[in-house]
């Protein structure tokens, strides 16, 4: 099934620089699974180590990153245990501090 992953707040720099990806994922996959799948498939080999440190910490998203599942905070949807549904849109938003 297909889902869409989007980056906000500059997090695409941890990956290949694209702000939007359409991914084929197995049914029944959790968001936790997705996090690691993204590290393995969306990061260029030569910057995976660095990118992983920007994206993850202690096996979840790093502090300052919000995960938004279909326009809702993942905290409202079961956090990383949420089971992905077809056509879900998952946004990874890094909080900004500038002004």
């Amino acid at each position: 099934m297909q889902i869409t992953v989007e980056f906000s707040g500059g997090l695409e720099t941890a990956f290949d620089g694209n702000k939007k990806h359409v991914l084929d994922v197995p049914e029944g996959s959790s968001v936790n699974w997705l996090l690691h799948h993204m590290v393995e498939t969306l990061m260029p080999d030569h910057k995976r180590e660095e990118g992983k440190n920007i994206f993850l910490q202690d096996e979840s998203v790093r502090p300052g990153v919000l995960v938004l599942i279909n326009d809702s905070d993942w905290e409202l949807e079961g956090e990383d245990q949420y089971i992905l549904q077809p056509r879900d849109v998952i946004i990874f938003a890094s909080t900004l501090h500038g002004g």
Binding site: P63, L66, D73, I91, A93, L96, H97, G98
Partner: protein, 290 residues
Amino acid sequence: MDRSDSEKTDVLPMFKQEYGRYGRQMLVPEFGISGQLDLRSKRILVVGAGGLGSPAIQYLAGAGIGHITIIDDDTVEESNLHRQTIHAGNVNVPKSESAAEFVGKLNPCISVTPMVVRLSPSNSFSVFEGHDLVLDCTDGPAVRYLINDTAVLSGIPVVSASALKTEGQLSIYNYNGGPCYRCLFPIPPPADAVQTCGDGGIMGPVVGMMGMSQAMEAIKLLTGVYSESFTPFLMLYSAYNFPPWKSVKVRKRQKTCAACGDVPRISRQLIETGQVDYSEFCGSPSQVLL
């Protein structure tokens, strides 16, 4: 304000001049005369007179917020002006004074106080006192946590925005069952993930849009639009994307929050005695306090 020909009588709740000045917004059904009277009685604190504060202050002053306090210890530089248009012609002037000068010219019916100091753990509570709302228009994570914690402990809501490069974000914190900044971001980001507008760059209208949105949300909040029911949200703007705007629902107040939770671990005393180390805690990737 020239009140010579504009007597406020016992019958009218505003001076005649104010009816003229604010007439166009009082015509709007969602706002009305009651909205104007609400704003007139309110005191707002704007922390930061930079890219966010510049439009926010202009439109809040225009709308007739009774009193605006502007705190910023920075001085206007030429490199600010593409996005901090309120400081036109005021290079080398303290930003809070420059912004207050603009407010005075725009709307003599309201009062404004500039403070040329840096918001710090030792002054934040006295600076916040007596205000109905705080606008977080700052440029860095440490002061954002300080504003949040002081606002929570003072019982004052915060309209918070941020921007970098082509993107911006906005939320309301500490209001009507909604989260505080720490509810959403309990652990500060690693320092190497943080960029300011100075080092990361910023498009003027991007940060302008966010400051403008802060003014709009402040007006809504102060006129009671969110008083009956409030669904916490985050607005995301990305100027080069289509669609450029996304609005998402976020978590409510978190019981486990260090600042606003059921068993808060942050107190005024801890802050004022320097035991919540705002200057350091965003300083290293792995360091986490509280």
